[in-house]
């Protein structure tokens, strides 16, 4: 099954996961939010009705509430990579972007395995290699596909680190007016 087919199938799922320290960390899909490129919100776009709910994130993305949008618009946006899914884990909202980092400094054999995996998937990704780090951009522009591919790399190649890019929205560390 190709990465694309795999991720399309996963769209129906309400949970996903990623690996950290060898453990699976569960991510719960947030059904009423998606992230779109801030540029997409300008002008007369399909997202314009959600413009008032937009909250600026990082990496050029904005978080929007999908309740003012037609479900078909949301679905098409996710499938085309115009929009990215939003997950929740441990009280933190996570937007998964279509980018993966792989790091390996321990073993030349593992580096070779990483390269082999990337060659096998060269039709799906653009790869940049720099100082024991591979940065992958997914041609599909889909964050959920990046999540799945990162998991597949951990399972098949087991490098030191493989992770899809997350933007997090979490409670700020300061405590305002604690006595209030």
């Amino acid at each position: 099954m190709s990465q694309q087919e795999n991720s399309t199938k996963n769209n129906a799922k309400t949970t996903s996961f990623y690996y950290a320290d060898g453990k699976k960390i569960e991510l719960n899909l947030v059904s009423d939010k998606i992230a779109v490129q801030a540029d997409e919100l300008q002008g007369d776009s399909v997202w314009s009705s959600a413009r008032d709910t937009a909250e600026s994130l990082m990496g050029g993305y904005s978080l929007i509430d999908v309740r003012s949008l037609e479900p078909v618009v949301v679905q098409k946006g996710l499938e085309s990579g115009q929009a990215q899914p939003v997950y929740e884990a441990e009280g933190c909202l996570i937007v998964v972007l279509p980018e993966i980092r792989i790091e390996e400094s321990r073993s030349p054999a593992t580096v070779a395995s990483v390269r082999k995996y990337l060659e096998d998937h060269c039709d799906e990704i653009l790869v940049q290699e720099l100082e024991q780090r591979f940065t992958l951009k997914l041609k599909s522009n889909r964050g959920d596909a990046a999540l799945n591919m990162a998991n597949e790399i951990v399972q098949q190649v087991a490098p030191e680190m493989a992770q899809a890019r997350f933007i997090r929205l979490m409670k700020r560390p300061s405590i305002l007016n604690p006595e209030g």
Binding site: A20, I25, S56, C92, Q163, I167, L169, R172, P173, P178
Partner: protein
């Protein structure tokens, strides 16, 4: 500037003095200059000098014998305080001698000294032979010579001290309780023993601490001169200045670096690396990017040569990319000796937040002035939050109503340039980072593991058994004890 040297317990002490007149002149000159940090410092000095001289005039009748000739006007020699709340020391042309032999007494009188008063336990107050600044320096010399002859228990110049009264604030009447807790409220000594630690070091400029946070007001008068490097991993700006009311990083930085006379940082002679990794959304949330944060961590140890990384944040699930970057800092930073990484345990009265859960990161919780873990019901604590706890907790430090820097002007936590009520494990974390920086300032060759061990071994144990527990870890940070062990 004049120097007075005298013996205390066999050790030659050196005090740098400035005349009040000079300080006032200096302040006027600097006031017209452009360097903002210098202007503030000079302004504070000028105020202190004026206050000290005025205070002495107010006491003129009572102190006449001591003030004769040497402390009556703005030419008075003043040693301004190094520490907040410290005394302005005014030199006089009198000296104190303890337990002088009869021969030594005769010798001193033969040198032109006059006995003004004889106190308990063989104490003598002696007036020097001349007046003014020359008289001040002469009695210091006579006192030194008397000690060197070995016929007295002690001999030293007599100083008048002008103590500065700190106004009580809504934060309580000890805004710097974390540095020196006088027990009002709280327990005497439930602090990080900063004043004692400062007798050893205020840090060294070659030691760099990175504050990875929502930006730091690097133009703040009390911080600007400490800034060594800065970077913005949120918007790519050339500085680490925060957005709007994003004051958290500025408050964290002040706990270590503030060079304000009133609200001094713990290791304020160290250098600040300000790294912006997050921004507020204006609704109580933080936004940050795992990859950008990992890059910021790498930049901190690799490009900015930071020795210590202070992370007053956490929460959410672990990030493999950030963990890997922290691992590189810990193993490859400081030329392979390793960076010390400190992170907040979190404020949810619950389990420890990531990244403080990473084994080699020092996980820091918060205590109240009563030396107990801050929880919603803790004595001397605050109602709305609790310091996270668990098996990963290493140590604790004060975290309730901490005085520190705030964004300049009306933005931030207060209308002022300082806040008296910064709190949370966010405030405790930079205290431990300061501890690591102070250790490295006196022993830069120590590796990361040894610095962590020292900080943990020298905590003041808060459990009755003296053992570690999940509430307070190994105990509360003690900077003085840590420095003493580090120097051995």
């Amino acid at each position: 500037m004049a120097v007075i040297e005298y013996y205390v317990d066999g050790v030659l002490m050196r005090l740098n003095f400035q005349t009040g007149e000079k300080l006032l002149e200096g302040a006027r000159v600097v006031r017209g200059a452009k360097a903002k940090g210098t202007r503030a410092s000079a302004s504070i000095q000028r105020k202190l000098a004026s206050e000290a001289v005025a205070a002495l005039h107010a006491q003129e009748d009572r102190m006449q014998p001591l003030m004769a000739g040497s402390v009556s006007d703005e030419s008075t020699m003043l040693a301004l305080p190094k520490t907040p709340g410290g005394a302005t020391v005014v030199a006089t042309s009198t000296m104190i001698v303890e337990k002088a032999t009869a021969a030594e007494r005769r010798k001193l009188i033969s040198e032109g000294l006059t006995i003004l008063n004889e106190g308990e336990e063989g104490k003598l107050l002696l007036q020097g032979p001349s007046e003014g600044i020359a008289g001040v320096q002469e009695v210091a010399k006579l006192a030194r010579e008397s000690v060197e002859r070995g016929n007295v228990q002690a001999a030293h110049p007599n100083f008048v001290r002008v103590l500065h009264h700190i106004e009580p604030s809504p934060a309580g009447n000890q805004p710097l309780w974390h540095q020196s807790n006088g027990g009002s409220p709280g327990i005497v000594g439930a602090d990080v023993a900063a004043w004692a630690a400062w007798t050893i070091t205020h840090g060294d400029p070659s030691t760099r601490v990175a504050i990875l946070d929502e930006g730091v007001d690097t133009e703040h008068l009390a911080l600007k001169s400490a800034v060594a490097q800065q970077a913005d991993y949120v918007d790519g700006h050339p500085t680490a200045m925060p957005d709007g009311d994003d004051a958290h990083g500025t408050a964290c930085a002040g706990i270590i670096f503030s060079r304000s006379e009133q609200y001094s940082g713990l290791a304020n002679e160290c250098s600040l690396v300000a790294v912006r990794i997050a921004k507020g959304d204006g609704r109580g949330n933080w936004i940050f990017d795992d990859f950008q944060t990992a890059d910021a961590i790498d930049w901190s140890w690799k490009k900015a040569s930071s020795d210590v990384l202070s992370c007053s944040w956490g929460g959410g699930p672990p990030s493999p990319s950030m963990t890997a970057a922290f691992q590189r800092a810990q193993t490859r930073g400081r030329g392979g000796k390793g960076c010390i990484i400190v992170a907040a345990s979190g404020n949810a009265n619950s389990r420890i937040d990531y990244p403080a859960t990473i084994p080699f990161i020092l996980a820091v919780g918060a205590t109240t002035p009563y030396d107990v873990r801050q929880s919603p019901n803790a004595k001397g604590g605050e109602r709305g939050w609790g310091s996270n706890f668990g098996r990963e907790l290493d140590l604790v430090a004060p975290g309730v109503k901490i005085a520190t820097t705030d964004i300049q002007g009306p933005a931030g936590y207060s209308e002022d340039d300082f806040t008296l009520t910064f709190n949370g494990t966010s405030s405790a974390t930079p205290m431990v980072a300061a501890g690591a920086a102070m250790i490295l300032s006196v022993r830069p060759e120590l590796n990361e593991t040894r610095v962590r061990e020292i900080l943990i071994q020298t905590t003041d144990r808060l459990t009755t058994s003296g053992r570690r527990n999940n509430q307070v870890g190994w105990g509360r940070l003690n900077l003085f004890a840590a420095l003493r062990l580090a120097r051995r």
